[in-house]
Symmetry: C2
Subunit: 203 residues, 2 copies
């Protein structure tokens, strides 16, 4: 059983690379469909679930009454979402099929299945460019704004990992391969990357 | 012109991988011959040069007289060796041929030539195993001793880099690809890695 997990910096093209890898290897790909399942199971709005997972980290809230109450509720939602997400990811793995999964601390959650863990990163300029090409500049006109957004999402991913796991997000020791996508074509690089993973698997 | 620089943790198999890559791509490979050239130019013993580069980092020595004098001299040798090494590496690049070079901060020194910069790492157990297989246990019987030796060399590499460059040794952002060699066969992985680098280069 071959599982490939893709962790990535925001804007580095990790999601696209994950999708391309799945296509190249002709295996399943899991990403946003997990959101829909969580939303349906928890009877929450899918967009809300996505937002909680993207920037909705637990804050250390002093448990007081009144104004902070809804914040506490939202944090409870966040915990519930994380728990449900873990359950769903494990259910996917239990089906026994090969797949690629992007984000969601899947490398940690699926550790027993010996996944190939990829980390995708790039320099800031390249990440800003990528976000721009994806049309994110509609909302965030300036590079400075994009940079801020990128750093915010990554900070959130790092923090979420600290909550869920005992390992550090983005630390190369936690991955089998770390790819810098600065100035490369994800499309061109996919076949040799897929090949690398296949060879790695055989060992 | 294709230059591949290989930086590596001690015991991770980076040197072997560099040599295999050069063979696979049928290009030149530079490593220990650089030591011989330095030794000859500076009229120093080759083994002494190697030792200085492996564990002979600059220490902060209070400049006093008497007992510390020879230590100061050795530090001067270390600086001379680093300067000569940089000169030799640049001379190699100026020849215009493709090559692989292992260690020696070549990624930094050759930055203008747009090299592909690889970092090779592995978990400690795997590095100890590799050292043991290479017969290093003749000198260092226990795993604890090997671990100490591995950490010492890597600490020295990190410190040397800090002296020579303004970038951090082993930080993934400084490399195009970081490979975890834990539990993989370097021989098996070489062709797909070479292929990855060739595709990267085309972009």
């Amino acid at each position: 059983m071959n599982i490939i997990t893709v962790s990535r910096e925001f804007g580095s093209g990790g999601r696209e690379l994950g999708k391309r890898l799945a296509d190249e290897l002709q295996i399943a790909y899991y990403d946003k469909e997990i959101l829909a399942t969580i939303a349906s199971k928890l009877k929450l709005d899918e967009e809300y679930v996505e937002k909680k997972l993207n920037i909705g980290n637990l804050r250390t809230v002093p448990v007081t009454f009144g104004r902070t109450f809804s914040l506490v509720n939202q944090n409870l939602d966040f915990v519930k979402i994380l728990v449900e997400q873990e359950k769903i990811i494990k259910e996917i793995a239990e089906k026994g099929e090969d797949f690629v999964i992007v984000g969601r601390n899947a490398d940690y959650i699926l550790n027993n299945y010996k996944p190939f863990n990829l980390f995708v990163y790039a320099d800031m300029e390249s990440k800003i460019d990528r976000c721009r090409r994806k049309g994110m500049e509609d909302n965030l006109q300036k590079a400075a704004d994009l940079k801020k957004a990128i750093l915010k999402v990554d900070k959130s991913r790092k923090k979420e990992r600290e909550i869920v796991t005992d390992s550090v997000w983005g630390k190369k020791e936690n991955y089998h391969l770390c790819i810098n996508t600065t100035e490369i074509s994800l499309k061109e690089i996919t076949p040799s990357l897929a090949n690398y993973i296949k060879t790695w698997r055989k060992n």
